[in-house]
């Protein structure tokens, strides 16, 4: 069986290497993808038609916006699949014990019957369990870095049609900043800022925003996702409406992608209970 697998791998790998020789040279202007009139049209007319300097984003969210909508739907489906496969509902105590750690000595204190200490306490910090270590250096450095990561992510989303980036990348970076929070502190810190229900709303809101822009175009007399129709509504020229429509759509993509990343990580790291992280 192993020999068969190796033989199959070598055969397919050899076929791949053999076929790669037939590819056009890198950057060849006469190669079929560069020579075809469609790519010429994109390169020459994107700026006049959509006023978006980044041709990749213009193609992604405008010329083939319908395609990207269902790409977002795929990500939405991935989050739903993780929800249905991994989420478990155990019986949870109505008044769970709270574990606090004395910051100077590292001694853990367990308070029973749901009693809490002041959240502003500077000597005690709440932790998820006695096993978890609270590291001052890691948590402080991450707390300092996270706002800048999020600001950069928002810049990537908002500036996606002028520079590399867009909804997918910005959403992933925004989600990664929350994963950093969950790893450097604990899952409870993230859960308090982002309850599961809120993430679900965000997940749905993103895809509703995307398709809502499409339907708004239909209401104002265009085709589905034909952003020009929104020009009178937003009070801009039809060309500028393309640019703004791309921005709205990218925001929707970013919301869905961000919620998906956080949800999948939380389900894996908490074994589906959404209570205790790594």
């Amino acid at each position: 069986m192993k020999i068969l697998a190796i033989a199959l791998c070598l055969l397919l790998g050899g076929a791949l290497v053999f076929v790669v020789g037939d590819f056009p040279d890198w950057g060849d202007p006469m190669s079929p993808p560069n020579d075809y009139r469609l790519s010429k049209h994109f390169i020459e007319n994107t700026m006049e038609e959509t006023s978006v300097p980044n041709i990749v984003t213009a193609v992604l969210a405008d010329y083939r916006g319908f395609d990207t909508m269902f790409e977002t739907a795929v990500i939405f489906t991935a989050a739903l699949a993780c929800f249905f496969l991994l989420r478990t509902w155990g019986r949870r105590p109505s008044k769970p014990d709270n574990v606090y750690m004395h910051l100077l000595t590292g001694v853990h204190v367990r308070l029973k019957h749901g009693k809490t200490l002041s959240p502003q306490s500077r000597t005690f910090a709440r932790v998820e369990s006695e096993i978890l270590r609270y590291d001052l250096v890691t948590s402080t450095v991450c707390r300092l870095m996270i706002p800048f990561i999020q600001l950069f992510a928002l810049y990537v989303v908002a500036h996606g049609h002028h520079s590399p980036g867009g909804g997918f990348q910005g959403g992933v970076i925004l989600g990664a900043s929350f994963l950093l929070l969950a790893i450097s502190h604990d899952l409870r810190t993230l859960r308090e800022r982002f309850p599961e229900v809120k993430l679900m709303y965000l997940l749905i809101a993103g895809i509703v925003l995307y398709s809502g822009v499409g339907f708004a175009c239909m209401i104002y007399g265009g085709n589905f996702l034909e952003y020009e129709a929104l020009g009178p509504l937003m009070g801009v020229t039809p060309v500028m409406a393309h640019s703004l429509g791309i921005l709205f759509v990218e925001i929707g993509v970013a919301m869905t992608v961000m919620a998906t990343m956080i949800l999948i990580y939380n389900y894996i790291s908490s074994l589906g209970t959404y209570e205790r992280g790594l």
Binding site: W26, T57, P164, Q169, V172, G175, L179, I264, I268, L278
Partner: protein
């Protein structure tokens, strides 16, 4: 970019891929996949596909490594074969 650096990055991609398959420690395999993705990101950037490089850096090297690590922590770190 000089073609020597290009060749060095390509060699590292192949080395990372082979090491990720052969390593026994699954956590190490996850980290090697992150390194692999980052090298691929450099290659995309060299070829001028900056948007793809950006996606590769954020999804491949960033979030998927975190997901691998979470999965390894919740299952076992050693592989049988």
């Amino acid at each position: 970019m000089f073609y020597q650096i290009d060749n060095a990055v390509l060699t590292l991609v192949v080395l990372c891929a082979l090491a990720a398959i052969n390593i026994k420690d699954l956590l190490g395999a996850g980290i090697l996949f992150g390194a692999y993705s980052f090298m691929m990101c450099l290659l995309w950037a060299v070829m001028g596909a900056v948007d793809v490089a950006f996606t590769e850096a954020s999804v491949g090297a960033g979030v998927s490594t975190v997901l691998f690590i979470a999965a390894v922590f919740r299952t076992s770190r050693r592989t049988k074969d």
